[in-house]
C-alpha cells in the first residue's frame, strides 16, 4: 500500500490563499481603527474588544461542540466577528453586554444557520441590532473623546451622555455645535469605538484593496449613493445637503468597507455588488434623513443582506460566448 500513487482530480496545485489568511487580513485591516478607538476613548476600549473576541471564540467552540460539528475556531472568522462587533459598540458599553452580543452573533446568527458562509445577515450587525433593541440605554451612551470611559461607565448611565454628530445634525440646537470636517476625519468625535476615525478606516481599506480581500464595487457604490442622496435631499432645499459630513459621520465608512463587503452576505458578481452598494446607500440616506433614527447604516446593510439571494438570482452572468440565462 505504501508505494501506491495518489489519484485525484485536477488541478494538482493550489493557490496559497486560504480562509484563515483572509480572516487574519481583515483583522489586520481593522487594527488602525481599533487603535484609533483606544487613542480617543482610552484603554477600556481594549477590554471591550478582548471580551467581544473571547466571547465569540468561546461561543463558536462550544456551539460547534454541542452540535457535534468540527472545531472551526482556527479559521479566525469568530475573531473577525468579535472585533467588528466591538468596533460597533459605544465605548461605555458594559462588558457583559459585549459578551452577550458576541454570543448572539455567533450562536444565533451564524452557527444556527449552518456556520461560516451560511449566515443570512452579517453576524456582528445582526447582534448589534438585537442589542440596540434590547439595551437602548447602554447602546446609545456616548462619551466625548478623551473622557475616561471607565469612570464614565462607573458614574451612571446618563452622566456624560452627549450627542453624536448625526444627532446634532438632526436634532441639535445649533449648527455651531457640529464638529469640523477635520475632527470627523481624524475621529475626535462621539460615536461607536471603531467608527469615529475616517482616517484609520481608510488605511485599513487601502490594505484590503491591496491584498485583494475586498473588491471596490460595494464600498464605492454604497458611499457614493449615500453622498449623492444626502446631497440632494439633506439640505433645506434640493442639492444643498452636506454630503461630506454624511460620509464622514456615523458608521458609514466602517459599514461600507468592512460590513457590507462581508462575503457570506454580499453578492458575488460585479453587477450584484453594485446593486447591493446602491441599495445600502439609498436605505442609509432614507433612514438618516426621513426617519426618527439618526443612523441607518446597520439597518441598511442588514436589509440588503436579506436581499442578497434575490440579487444573486437575478444577476447570473452571461457565460463567455453564451446567451443570458432567464432567471
Amino acid at each position: 500500500m505504501e508505494d501506491r500513487l495518489t489519484v485525484s482530480s485536477s488541478p494538482h496545485i493550489r493557490d496559497k490563499a486560504n480562509t484563515q489568511r483572509i480572516m487574519i487580513d481583515v483583522v489586520i485591516a481593522l487594527l488602525p481603527a481599533t487603535f484609533a478607538g483606544v487613542y480617543f476613548f482610552g484603554t477600556r476600549v481594549l477590554l471591550v474588544v478582548m471580551v467581544s473576541i473571547l466571547s465569540c471564540v468561546v461561543s463558536e467552540y462550544l456551539s460547534r461542540r454541542i452540535m457535534k460539528r468540527s472545531n472551526t475556531i482556527s479559521d479566525f472568522s469568530a475573531v473577525v466577528t468579535g472585533l467588528l462587533l466591538a468596533l460597533n459598540l459605544p465605548p461605555t458599553v458594559p462588558l457583559w453586554v459585549a459578551a452577550v452580543g458576541s454570543a448572539i452573533a455567533i450562536v444565533v446568527i451564524k452557527q444556527l444557520f449552518g456556520g461560516l458562509g451560511q449566515n443570512f445577515v452579517n453576524p456582528a450587525l445582526g447582534a448589534r441590532i438585537i442589542l440596540m433593541i434590547s439595551y437602548p440605554g447602554f447602546m446609545t451612551n456616548w462619551v466625548k473623546p478623551g473622557v475616561d470611559a471607565v469612570s464614565a461607565a462607573a458614574s451612571g448611565v446618563d452622566a456624560i451622555s452627549s450627542a453624536t454628530p448625526l444627532q446634532i445634525m438632526k436634532y441639535g440646537a445649533s449648527i455651531a455645535d457640529l464638529p469640523s470636517y477635520g475632527e470627523l476625519f481624524w475621529g475626535n468625535i462621539m460615536g461607536c469605538l471603531g467608527e469615529t476615525s475616517a482616517a484609520a478606516l481608510l488605511i485599513g481599506a487601502v490594505y484590503l484593496f491591496a491584498r485583494k480581500i475586498i473588491s471596490p464595487e460595494i464600498p464605492f457604490a454604497f458611499i457614493g449613493t449615500t453622498a449623492l442622496f444626502t446631497w440632494i435631499f439633506g439640505g433645506t432645499t434640493l442639492f444643498t445637503g452636506d454630503f461630506l459630513f454624511h460620509v464622514l459621520a456615523g458608521g458609514l465608512l466602517l459599514g461600507a468597507i468592512y460590513m457590507a463587503t462581508d462575503y457570506a452576505t454580499s453578492p458575488m458578481t460585479v453587477k450584484g455588488r453594485i446593486i447591493m452598494g446602491i441599495g445600502c446607500g439609498l436605505l442609509t440616506g432614507i433612514i438618516r434623513l426621513f426617519t426618527n433614527y439618526t443612523e441607518g447604516v446597520s439597518f441598511a446593510i442588514v436589509l440588503m443582506n436579506i436581499m442578497v439571494p434575490l440579487i444573486d438570482r437575478y444577476t447570473i452572468p452571461k457565460s463567455f460566448g453564451g446567451e443570458k440565462a432567464v432567471a
Binding site: 508505494d3 500513487l5 495518489t6 489519484v7 485525484s8 482530480s9 485536477s10 488541478p11 494538482h12 496545485i13 493550489r14 493557490d15 490563499a17 486560504n18 480562509t19 489568511r21 483572509i22 472551526t72 479559521d75 472568522s77 456556520g115 461560516l116 458562509g117 451560511q118 473588491s215 462575503y263 457570506a264 454580499s266 458575488m268 458578481t269 444573486d312 447570473i316 452572468p317 452571461k318 457565460s319 463567455f320 460566448g321 453564451g322 446567451e323 440565462a325
Partner: protein, 440 residues
C-alpha cells in the same frame, strides 16, 4: 503587430518552466511498448493485428470506421505479444497492443510521402498520419481541418501559449524546429486557402516570440501576438478571443467564428509528415516535478511505459506519490507507472509526498474568487452546490456545460473546495438526465 492581449478572468499560476533550456534528448527503443487503441477524443480503434504478428515502424495496428477517431500506428518493429483490454487512467478499459521490440526499428514498406492535390486528399492523408491535437486534448486533426462547407475559415491560430506550469514541450518545438513550424503553417494555409495566421505565445517565452517574429517578417499573412502569461491562455476559446477578439458561442466550435486552432507541435508534425510520410509515432515529453532526478525534455516513442521514461531521466530522488500526465492544472493523475506515453502526452510530472497532498476542503465563505477567476464567466460555487444536490435544472441555468474544466476555480478557492471536480460531476449528471429523457 506586437501587442499584449488578454481575456477576462483566469488566474496567475506559478510557471515552473525549469526545463525551458533543456534541449530535447532522444530516448532509445524500450524492450516493450504497450499501445492503447484510444489516444484521442472520439471512437476507440479496433486492433488490426493479432498475437504473433510481426509489425514494423509506422504500420497501422488499429483503426476505426468512425469519423471522429484517428488510426494508431506501431512505433517500433517487433512482435505482437498480446492484445488485451487495459485500464486507462481516464477510468475506462480499451484494448492495447503489446509489442516486444526487436531493436532494429525497420520501417514499414508502405511509408512514403503522401500525395495530395486537393483538400479532400490532404485531409485523408492527415487522417492516415494519426495526428491528433498535440496540445493535450487529442482531438483528431483531420476532423478539425474539415469544417462544414458552410463555415468559411479565414484565420488559423497557432497555439504556442503553453500556459500550463512545468510544460516546455511546445516551447522546445518552436526553438528547435522553428522551420518545421513555419513550413507546417504554410502547408495548412495553402491547402485550406487561409490568408491570416496568428501565432499566439505567452510573454514568459521571449525567445520563442523572437524566433517566430523573425519568421513573421517573411510573410504579411503571418503575425505573432505576444500574450499575457495568464492561465488558461492556451485554452482554445480564450486563445481565439485574445488573438482575434472573436467569441466562440456557447456550445459551438472555433469553425463557427471562422477559426481553426492548431498547436505548434501539430503543424510542425504536418510539415515533417508531408516530407517523410512517417505517421505520429513519437512525442516530445517534458519530464519534471520535485521527484525527478534529471528533469528534461525527452523524445519518446508512443507506447513507452511511463516508468521507462522516468528511468531515462535518472529515476526518482524520492519515491513519487503522484504522477501526472499533462500539466498540474488539467493533467490526469496516473494510477500506475506501467501505463504508456500516448500521442497527446506533453508532460510526465512526478510529485513527492509533500507536493501531492490533497488539501482538506473547508466551508465556502462565498468570497467570489471562483467567479472572478472563471474565464467562462460562470459561477462555480453555485454549480458546485447544485452538482452535489444533482439539481439538473439549476445546473443548466448556471450554464454547467460551458465549463471548460480549466481548474481556475479550484486553484483559487481559499476553502480548497474541489470545485472543478464537482462541475465535471454536474456535467455528467446533466448528460445522464438528457439521455434518460431522450430514451423515454
Amino acid at each position: 503587430m506586437f501587442v499584449k492581449r488578454f481575456f477576462k478572468g483566469g488566474t496567475n499560476v506559478p510557471h515552473y518552466k525549469n526545463t525551458a533550456n533543456c534541449e530535447t534528448v532522444k530516448m532509445g527503443v524500450p524492450e516493450k511498448v504497450i499501445i492503447p487503441m484510444i489516444q484521442h477524443i472520439g471512437a476507440p480503434c479496433e486492433p488490426c493485428v493479432q498475437k504473433g504478428d510481426t509489425v514494423k515502424v509506422g504500420q497501422i495496428i488499429g483503426d476505426s470506421g468512425k469519423f471522429i477517431s484517428a488510426p494508431v500506428h506501431s512505433s517500433v518493429s517487433g512482435t505482437v505479444v498480446g492484445v488485451a483490454p487495459m485500464l486507462q487512467s481516464g477510468g475506462f478499459y480499451v484494448p492495447a497492443v503489446e509489442i516486444e521490440t526487436d531493436g532494429k526499428q525497420e520501417v514499414y514498406e508502405g511509408i512514403k510521402p503522401p500525395k495530395y492535390s486537393n483538400i479532400k486528399e490532404f485531409i485523408e492523408a492527415i487522417r492516415q498520419s494519426g495526428l491528433v491535437g498535440l496540445g493535450g486534448a487529442g482531438f483528431p486533426a483531420h476532423v478539425k481541418l474539415s469544417p462544414p462547407p458552410d463555415k468559411k475559415i479565414d484565420t488559423l491560430v497557432i497555439n504556442g501559449a503553453e500556459c500550463e506550469p512545468f510544460i516546455t514541450s511546445d516551447y522546445r518545438e518552436i526553438i528547435e524546429n522553428s522551420w518545421n513550424v513555419i513550413s507546417g503553417i504554410n502547408i495548412v494555409m495553402e491547402i485550406l486557402n487561409i490568408n491570416n495566421v496568428i501565432i499566439g505565445i505567452e510573454d514568459n517565452k521571449p525567445e520563442a516570440i523572437e524566433v517566430m517574429e523573425r519568421i513573421d517578417k517573411s510573410s504579411d499573412k503571418i503575425s505573432v501576438v505576444k500574450l499575457k502569461s495568464r492561465y488558461p491562455q492556451g485554452a482554445e476559446k480564450m486563445l481565439i478571443y485574445a488573438t482575434t477578439r472573436r467569441k466562440v458561442p456557447a456550445g459551438k466550435l472555433p469553425a463557427d467564428v471562422g477559426v481553426i486552432v492548431m498547436n505548434v507541435n501539430s503543424v510542425s508534425f504536418i510539415s515533417e509528415y508531408v516530407k517523410t510520410g512517417m505517421p505520429l509515432i513519437k512525442k516530445r515529453v517534458t519530464v519534471d516535478g520535485p521527484s525527478v532526478k534529471n528533469p528534461g525534455n525527452v523524445e519518446v516513442l508512443i507506447g513507452t511505459p511511463i516508468h521507462k521514461v522516468f528511468d531515462f531521466c535518472g529515476g526518482f530522488t524520492v519515491p513519487p506519490k503522484k504522477v501526472l500526465m499533462g500539466g498540474p492544472m488539467m493533467g490526469l493523475a496516473q494510477y500506475s507507472l506501467d501505463l504508456s506515453v500516448v500521442k497527446h502526452t506533453n508532460a510526465l510530472l512526478a510529485f513527492d509526498d509533500k507536493s501531492s497532498k490533497i488539501p482538506e476542503s473547508g466551508a465556502c465563505i462565498r468570497c467570489g474568487r471562483c467567479v472572478w477567476a472563471c474565464p467562462m464567466n460562470l459561477m462555480p460555487l453555485c454549480l458546485y452546490n447544485n452538482a452535489i444536490k444533482e439539481n439538473i435544472d439549476e445546473l443548466n441555468k448556471y450554464h454547467v456545460n460551458d465549463c471548460i474544466e480549466c481548474g481556475c476555480c479550484s486553484y483559487v478557492c481559499p476553502a480548497k473546495i474541489n470545485l472543478v471536480q464537482s462541475l465535471r460531476l454536474g456535467k455528467a449528471k446533466v448528460k445522464q438526465a438528457a439521455a434518460a429523457k431522450g430514451g423515454k
